[in-house]
Structures are given as C-alpha cells and as structure tokens.
C-alpha cells in the first residue's frame, strides 16, 4: 500500500468508526474497541479494493448524504420532537450557507469587485462560520416562530413554505448582500492547507507528513471526515436532549398539548425552543454545504432540493427517530444519485421518443423522487424504522385506527 492510500484510509477511518459506534449493538465498553477494529479493517479494505475513481465518488456521495443527514436531524428535531410541519427547510439551509460564506470569504477587491458584490467578507475560520450560520438561522427561526408557531398545522405548512420562498427571493434579488443572481464564489475549504504545498504552519509536522501524499485534489476525503464528526456531534446532542427531562416535556407538549399546558408548562415557549434548535441545525447544514460546493447561489435552495427531498428522507427513515433520519438521508440520496445512472442508461430510448428529451432528463429524476414520496405516503408512512417508544402524532393516530 502506498503512503497516499494509507493516508486516505486513515481519513475514511473517522466516519467508519463513528458509524460503528452508532450501529454496533453491544455495550459501550466493548463498542469502542469493536468499532476501532471494524473501521480499521473496512477502511483498509475499501482503499485497497476499490478503484481510485470509485472510492472518490463514494466519498463525495457520502459527504453530500451526510450534509443531508444533518438537515434531516434538524427537521426531525422540529417534526419528530414537536410536530412542527416545516415546509421551509430550504430557507434555513440557505441562510446557513450564505452566512457561513459571508463570514469566511474575503471581500472581493480590485477588478473582481465590479463583478462580485457581497455585504461583507470577514475571513473568519471555518468553525466560526459554521457557528455563525447556526446562530443566524436560529435567530431567523426565532423571529419566524413567534407569529407562525401559534398557527394550525396546515397554516404552519403554508407559512413556512412561503418563508423559504421569500428567503430565496431575497438572495436572488439583493446583489449587495451575496451577489444576487450570480454565484458567490471562493468559499474556503476548511483545513485545505493540510493537503497543500506548503502546508499550513500551525499543524504539527507529523500530521502534515502523513496527510501530504493525499494531495489537494483528494481534499474531499478530509472534508468527509470533518462533516462526519459534525454530524456525529449533532446526533449525540440530539439523542442526549431527547432523553433529558426537557425532551420528555417536548414530547408531552407534542402529544398532549392541552394537558401539558395545564401542568403549568409554557407550551408556546417549548414549541419555539424546538423550532429554534431545528433552525440552528439546518443553518449548520447550510454552512457544511457551502464549504463543500465552494460556490453557491440562490438556485441551489429551491424547494425540491432543499425541502422536499429532506422530507422524503425523513419520512422514509421514520420520523421521530434520529438514526432513521440519517439512514433515510443516505438511502434517498443513493436513489437520487442512482437515477443519474438510470438516465444515462435510458438516454437512447429517450432520444428515440424526442430529440429534446435527453437534455431534459434531469427532470426525470424529479419525477422519480415525486413518485417515491407518493409511495412512502401511501404505503409506508411510518418509515423504515419506527420511533421506539416515542411515536409522533400522526403515527399514533394511524396505528390506533388500523388496530
């Protein structure tokens, strides 16, 4: 095995270890060594067994899926924990992405300033950008929550859908804010200096020596490790939260709003808290997305890509269940990417029907995802994994009716 392959394996080790910690069903003491061994073996096998191109593809696929998993966790903490129907995920996702971009990029100067406009560029580190993204999204979430969360479920759905559209309109039309209809470019890749020549000075030399063979072209391996750590942290915090007394109150509020109010809990306050937490997580997801794609514009945050598909993921994974949310994200993203191959395969047939059709094949994927959502709603509304003891509102109703 070459140095480069070993270094790659060590980077893939991180997400695999975290995955092992999440899924290996033994007690915590045994889980750590088991996860270490399993991740070690699998990462070496992957690097040795797969062609370089395939491996890179798999890693970049997983990175995007992991970003969606963060979005799903955000949505789950609103819908699963409190029963908020937020059809405006795209809005909070966009706010997070643009906030982090503005915090970490530099103000365009010289000739570039004529083409590229943005409100500010603070050149802050990545983690500051991520935190700022979460905080700004949370603040917007709070402001939105005050009038909107009192509404009935159906009105809440319409309102959040509208909020996301307005946020998108703002980023589309306000050139001074984040370059309007033009993409905002040059969003930095965190720790990319670790792979660059010369490497950043503050990193310890052994790490630089170890990672250097990976090369800047394979930066995605490093970014995947970063995203997976952030995903794991959010997952752990949410699990912690939902088991805490606070989480129990949330479920009480969700299931029995009136009796919770009678027990002296400030229901509106609690409902706002989960909405804000969810918005924060969606903002973080936006930041992760911005630093992944490096260049963003308003069109990325359309209702299909950033709201609709997230709901499909959560519904498939089983709402109310954080593991299910992550699984759903990977499964649906796999279907989405898989359809690309299907389209390639079907291109000759499409060509035969109409010469215009192949150029529109992307919409064929939308069609399939729409059918997938319809199928979930019709045949498996409880998702792949059920919420263990804490069933969401509509599930409780459904199971009772079926019985």
């Amino acid at each position: 095995m070459t140095d480069a392959e070993l270094a790659k394996a060590s980077l893939i080790f991180v997400p695999l270890f975290l995955l092992g910690m999440m899924v290996i069903p033994v007690r915590a003491i045994f889980r750590v060594p088991l996860a270490v061994v399993a991740a070690f073996v699998v990462s070496l096998l992957l690097v040795a067994g797969l062609a370089t191109g395939t491996l890179t593809y798999l890693v970049s696929f997983s990175t995007m899926a992991a970003i969606y998993a963060v979005l799903c966790l955000g949505l789950n903490s609103q819908w699963g924990l409190s029963g908020h129907v937020n059809f405006g995920v795209a809005g909070f996702f966009a706010i997070g992405a643009f906030t982090s971009a503005l915090f970490t990029t530099s103000m365009p100067s010289g000739a570039l300033a004529a083409y590229s406009k943005q409100a500010f560029g603070l050149e802050m580190p990545f983690l500051v950008g991520v935190l700022a993204a979460g905080i700004v999204a949370a603040i917007i979430g709070f402001l939105v929550a005050i009038p909107v969360l009192r509404l009935r479920t159906d009105f809440l759905a319409i309102s959040t859908l509208g909020i996301a559209e307005i946020i998108r309109l703002i980023f589309q039309n306000e050139r001074w804010l984040a370059n309007g209809p033009q993409p905002l470019r040059g969003i930095p890749q965190p720790l990319s200096c670790a792979l660059a020549q010369p490497a950043c000075s503050w990193l310890p030399q052994p790490i630089v020596d170890w990672l250097a063979p990976v090369g800047p072209r394979n930066y995605i391996f490093l970014y995947f490790a970063i995203v997976s750590i952030i995903l794991a942290v959010i997952y752990l915090l949410l699990e912690r939260i939902s088991r805490s007394p606070w989480g129990r109150v949330q479920r009480a509020v969700r299931d029995e709003e009136n009796s919770a109010a009678m027990n002296g809990k400030n229901v509106t306050g609690f409902r706002i808290q989960t909405f804000v937490i969810g918005s924060f997580i969606m903002g973080v997801a936006g930041a992760l997305y911005a630093h992944y794609t490096v260049s963003i514009d308003y069109s990325h945050f359309n209702p299909l890509f950033a709201t609709f598909i997230v709901w499909v993921m959560l519904m498939l994974g089983g709402s109310g269940n954080n593991k299910g949310a992550i699984l759903g994200a990977f499964a649906v993203w796999a279907v989405w990417t898989g359809t690309a191959f299907l389209i390639d395969f079907a291109t000759p047939a499409m060509q035969a029907i109409s010469s215009d059709l192949p150029s529109r094949s992307a919409y064929f994927r939308w069609l399939l995802v729409a059918i997938l959502l319809a199928a979930i709603v019709l045949f498996r509304p409880q998702g792949l994994i059920r919420e263990r003891k804490l069933v969401s509102d509509f599930l409780a109703r459904n199971t009772r009716r079926k019985a």
């Binding site: 009192r150 009678m262 064929f364 939308w366 709603v377």
Partner: protein
Amino acid sequence: MSANEATASEAGPAGIPAAGKRRRDIAARLRSRPVFAGILVVILVLFWVAGYASGSSFGELLSLTVWGVMLGGILSLGAMGVTLVYGVLKFPNFAHGALLTIGAYTAYVVAGLLPQGAPLRPFSFGWELIVAMIVALPVVAIVALVVDRILFRRLRGRDASLVLFAMASLAATFFLRSVVYLIWGSDFYFYYPGRANPALHLPFDIRIQADQIFVFALAIALVAATYVLLERTRMGKAMRATANNPDLAQVRGINTERVIAWTWLIAGALAAAGGVMYGLASQLRPEMGFFLLLPIFASAIMGGLGSPVGALVGSIIIGIAEQLSASFINPAYGPAVAFVLMILVLVVLPQGLFGRSGE
C-alpha cells in the same frame, strides 16, 4: 385552532394584569372583521403613499391599482379551487399551482393545433385561444380527479393525518411540474409571441390592455357561475353540506365520494382557466403555478378558507397590494407582499374576512 389559541393565552406569562387585559382588549378589537377590513384599506392607502413618495404619478398608481384588480381576477380562479378543496377535504392542496400550469400548457398545445385566425381586436388573441381554453377546462379537471383517485382517496380511506395529505399534495406538485418540464422544457412560451398588444387609454390617465379587461370579466363570470352552482344546484348544496359536516352528509344519504369528485372537477376547471389567463397576461413557464401558489393561498386565507366570495375579495386585495408594491419595491417581491399579508391575516383573523369561525 381554538385549542391552540386557548393554550397559548393560558400559557402566556402572567405579567401585570392590567397591561395584559388592555393588550387582550386591543387584540379582541382587532379580531373583528370590520376593523380588520379597515386595516387592510389603510395598508393599501399606505402603499399608495409609498408609491407616490417613490415618484410614481397619480395616473401610474391608478393604473397599478386597476392592474391589481385584474391580477386579482386571475388569482381568484386559483383561490376558488383551493378554497373549495379545503372546504370539502380540509387540507391545503399545494398541487393547485401545478394545475394552473398544466391548464396553460394544454391550451398552448391545443391553440397550436388550430389554424391561427386574426386577433379579435381590441384583444390580442384570436378565437383559437378561446377554443383552446374550453378544451383545457375538462383536461385539467380530469387531471385533478386522477390525482385524487391515485393519492388522496387512498389516504381518505385510511383516515390519514393532515400532514400526509399535505405531503401527498407536494408529491403531486413535483410530479406534475416534472411532467411539464419533460414535455415542454424550461423555455418560456407565449400564446402569441411578438404580437402587438397596445394599451387602451382611459380617463384619469389609466393605461390598460383590452386583454386584461377580458381576463377580469371572464374571471368574474366564472366565479359567479361557481357561486350560483354552490348556492342553487343540488350538487352545489351537497358540496356545502359535505364541507360543513361530512358525517351528517353521509347519514343524509349523500354519496360524499361523488361530491368530492365534483369538487375536484370544478377546482381543476377553474385552475385551467386561471392558468390560461395568467399565460395570456404574462408568459408560460413551468414554475408559473408554483409562483402563483403563495398569492393564491394568501387570497384564499384572507377571504376565509371555504368561502367562495371571500376568495374573490381576498384575491382582489392581494392583487392590488402586489401591483401597488411594485411602485416602491422590486416587483420580484410581489409574492413576499402577499405572504406578509397572509401572515397578518393568520395571526389576527385566522377565519378570514368571510370565513365562518367554528360553529
């Protein structure tokens, strides 16, 4: 809603009693319909002032207002369908915008198949567009019915929750929209590309196209026809009865599934007309329906979900507000203006201007 509100106020901070009481008094007064209607009028007047301050002339503002009424006509065709479906089926149908889009494109195809006649001056369109629209009405009505049969009827059979209905309607939206993209691509189309459509000059410096007057007149006629249908016919009364009390409707021997089918047919046909009218007034693009969805819902909610008259009044208010706002902010924010007004209605007067509040 009432439960929500009750708990919200119960759970509110105890605060200083006097201040709390005064706040509640003000809130209660705001919640009456005449007062709220007054607030809306004040908002529109402020829009006028803002437009005037931004340099628009009196004639321009008057024209914008008239255009707003015309836009309201188009919106009302969509809002009427949303309100009917909501009344009978009790869920927000997000696929309604897509029905408008399908209607516009269907008419485009049909008009293309017909020989193009001379424009019916002063209008910019010929008889073929009218024929095309008449063909589009049943086509979209049937599309709406098929969507119901495939998706919503099964959910009804399971007594599914509102969220599943809303999700299903989102799925239908994206399905229909992708079909439009697949067949027609993402290009813009015009019913009559490049054809001159001069504005008429009316007193008070109002400039308006004859087409706009036609659009509004047709919208009013269709809304009026729907109103008569609901008030005077046996099926219309059965629709109102089912909307009011579905269980009792069954007990009285009304076949509610047939009522629901008629609701979709009517909503679909109205949406088709709305789509064609919007296509005539601007252009055809796959996103047109989704773009209109927010103003349509805002109109239906402002008028009071379930109330056809409310849908018309709400649409005209939303239409005027959107057009007038273009005189002082970027016209792209039209949907945002509709949205803000919608939130205002939802927070202050959730039953809308004409809706019934509970029993």
